[in-house]
């Protein structure tokens, strides 16, 4: 594989991971607004982008498995870093969505309780 091809694969991984990260941030914003439908949608879209990043990576791994020599260029290491950190951020976002939803449930319960005591 030529150096230029490796760079292109690295950029594909970086760009798709970047899109995924932007969508995770959109999901976080939606969670703050308690719009869980929108946050779930954005987390799903971010997963689609991560799959595209993975696909670029898989092509590289397949070439490697077929015996073609792949130079481990620094830009590829960097691309991998983009991908892994974004995946971790997305996993965190899913955990946080559960917490945000739980907070909303507690708030709702408290409101009903308050109504009962005042009513």
């Amino acid at each position: 594989m030529k150096s230029e091809d490796i760079q292109v694969v690295a950029f594909e991984i970086i760009l798709h991971s970047g899109n995924a990260r932007t969508m995770v941030h959109k999901a976080f914003a939606a969670m703050k607004e308690k719009n869980f439908k929108l946050s779930t949608e954005n987390l799903k879209l971010s997963n689609d982008e991560l799959l595209l990043a993975h696909k670029s990576q898989t092509n590289l791994l397949q070439e490697y498995a077929e015996g073609s020599h792949i130079d481990m260029e620094i830009i590829l290491v960097h691309a991998q870093d983009h991908l892994m950190t974004t995946m971790t951020l997305r996993e965190m976002a899913i955990e946080m969505q559960t917490l945000y939803e739980e907070v909303q449930n507690i708030e709702k319960r408290n409101q009903t309780k308050a109504k009962k005591t005042t009513g």
Binding site: F11, I14, L15, S17, G18, T22, H25, I74, I75, H78
Partner: protein, 105 residues
């Protein structure tokens, strides 16, 4: 000489794009230089540096709005780089160079 600055996540892929775009301008005898920095330095760069144009890479779209706002404040253009102009192949470099030329004023 005009100067453009690419802002990206860690400043690595953008360094590569900046270098290749600068070479492209050199080959065309155009007096434009492109440099790169990380998104964490972006705000300070737009406010305080002498660049004529700021380009936000596609993988840092989440910071675009904030950077555009600062660009408005200081009267400097901040533009977003489309996906197909951020890839180190000849058509990508050409797209980036065109984007710089169109917006650098």
């Amino acid at each position: 000489m005009k100067k453009a600055l690419i802002i990206c996540a860690a400043g690595m892929s953008s360094s590569m794009m900046a270098k290749k775009t600068t070479d492209y301008f050199k080959n065309k005898n155009m007096d434009i230089e492109v440099d790169a920095i990380t998104a964490t330095e972006g705000e300070d760069a737009i406010r305080n540096s002498d660049f004529d144009l700021f380009l936000v890479s596609p993988q840092t779209t989440m910071y675009l709005e904030g950077f555009e706002k600062i660009g408005d404040e200081v009267g400097k253009p901040v533009v977003s780089i489309p996906f197909n102009s951020y890839i180190p192949i000849p058509t990508g470099i050409e797209g980036m160079a065109n984007l710089v030329e169109e917006n650098i004023g």
